[in-house]
Amino acid sequence: MKPSTTHRLDARWLLPALLLLLMTLAVVASGLGFIAVSPAQVLRVVAARLPGLEEMARGLDQLLPHVVWEVRLPRILSAAAVGAGLAMSGAVFQGILQNPLADPYTLGVSSGAAFGASLCLLLGLDFWGAYSVCLMAFLGASLTLLAVMWLSSVDGQASPHNLILSGVIVAAILSAGIGLIKYLADEQVAVIIFWLMGSLVSKGWLDLGLTLGAGLLGLVVFMYHARDLTLLCLGARAAASLGVQTVRVRLTLLITASLVSAVCVAVSGIIGFVGLLIPHLMRALVGPDHRLLLPASACAGALLLLGADTITRAALPHEVPIGVLTAIIGGPFFCYVFRRRQMGRGHA
């Protein structure tokens, strides 16, 4: 087979285009739902929040600011932030593991977060108010990552293969643990099951702040190391000979990506396929250089989850858990992409 010449989109156009699309979709989605609000009204409600522009809301229905600002916007922006966080950490995990099929699940990080959160819901832990579930999810994710790294590393170096194997093993043990928690939960079981299926229902500004904070921290750390991550794709030995502090960079990125995905899981439950599908698609569009891939994945992940959440919220007669929707849409699409790549590749 003759090797193909690549055609890549110019990132100078793609990134602003994705951002513009994201903002438009956020405004339009804020108007959709049981009470219809026009995009112009949405913009007026938002503008009225700015100092000096309070009179923008004059003449609007009293209900609209509440519906848009208190109910819809935090949920919509949370959906976007979770999508961006999952897609970014998926791209980072794929880069570190040198495996285009890796994502927060492959390392067991999501299962760890889900286990921690389920335990929190089972025991009714409330030591830190609304943050309790989040904190337990992060604890679960971090401990899982530590266990996976310990299992897979020999004299301080963990091979990508070992990491994935260990991740799958630990995730299997944890899902049995989650099963046990569900069995023990009695009347609480519905809460846990619904949470595990993934949902953005009744997300407030607090959830948004948490996700956005973790996401922005992640973005800064990821972008600082983006070039090192790209060099790591050549293998640790080659990256080290090109001046990359391989052990430190890998550890920093693994911990940060786990933190970001743990917060996403804690806020929204398990939402699959975003972290797997989006980096895959973006790699085909902008190429595998993480300096472009990471911001492009963040924008596209935000778009996808915001779109999916709007469908479950405003278009379907009953609200379907968003994790179920992304899996139903994303799963077969991923199979199609994966199969086509296999057929096109032949030997690779």
């Binding site: 080290a240 000979s241 190429g287 690779a348």
Partner: protein, 266 residues
């Protein structure tokens, strides 16, 4: 006053867990030569390169690089003096040939800066030297094994370092490309005074290009010196346990090795 050797290695020891690999290796490599490291499988050649490039730390012993302890160099500074051509390059991601070779320039480009004219010129030059210009915009995962190996070499050439370490640089190449690649390395040494250290499996290629040979056996230095002195049937018997005839050949323009298959007439 003699020039500082590129490498001064003393009492080098290394083990993977309980398995000793290097057991007290001493080696001194003066600058400006083409060295070939030869030895049987598992004798510690690749491990030695790993230690020489600083990817692993020795259990004991010392490696001085250009007169200074290797561990004293910051990674990026070292990457401007020392390039490595590893044996295998994992390539799960669709980088183009040009992008991959440009990665060799990263030790010279600040973290957030774009490549300069000189960087792009070095990349173009490296692509031309390894006859990759026509493949520059192809995807690396879709290339053949030999083409990929040349991409790795081109990346190391673009790195533009005074010292180049190569781990079996010709293992996936046909004989014509193998000769061409080693010729490029030979020119680096001859015309630009650089130092090349290559782990070699093919003893005839080693004899043809490497002016100095280093024999390693069971994690120790067995012999080192000019090829005409150390490449002898005796040393091949001691290190590899094979029967061989070694002699100068006018057609090859170098020493050649002819092997006898096991159980053949002695």
């Amino acid at each position: 006053m003699p020039e500082t050797p590129v490498y001064q290695i003393t009492g080098l020891r290394f083990a993977y867990g309980p398995t000793p690999v290097l057991t007290g290796l001493d080696l001194e490599l003066p600058a400006g030569r083409f060295y070939g490291i030869v030895g049987p499988n598992g004798c510690g050649k690749t491990t030695l390169l790993d230690l020489m490039v600083g990817a692993r730390a020795p259990a004991s012993g010392n490696i001085a690089f250009m007169g200074r302890g290797l561990e004293a160099y910051p990674r990026r500074a070292l990457a401007r003096s020392l390039a490595l051509v590893p044996q295998e390059m994992p390539m799960g991601f669709p980088f183009t040939v040009r992008e991959t070779v440009l990665m060799g320039r990263h030790p010279h480009i600040p973290r957030f800066a774009a490549p300069r004219e000189t960087d792009l010129a070095k990349v173009a030059q490296a692509l031309a030297q390894l006859e990759l210009t026509a493949l520059a915009d192809k995807l690396v995962p879709e290339l053949s094994g030999g083409e990929r190996q040349r991409v790795v070499l081109a990346r190391a050439l673009a790195q533009d370092t005074p010292v180049l370490l190569m781990d079996e640089p010709t293992s996936h190449l046909d004989i014509s490309h193998a000769l061409a690649v080693l010729r490029v390395a030979e020119d680096l040494v001859r015309e630009q005074g650089r130092t090349v250290v290559a782990v070699m499996h093919d003893l005839n290629l080693a004899a043809a290009f490497c002016v100095h040979l280093v024999f390693i056996k069971q994690g120790r230095l067995h012999a080192a010196g000019p090829a005409e002195q150390v490449l002898q049937s005796g040393s091949l018997r001691e290190v590899f346990g094979v029967k061989a005839k070694v002699g100068w050949d006018d057609f090859a323009g170098s020493r050649v090795v002819i092997f006898q298959k096991p159980g053949g007439l002695a």
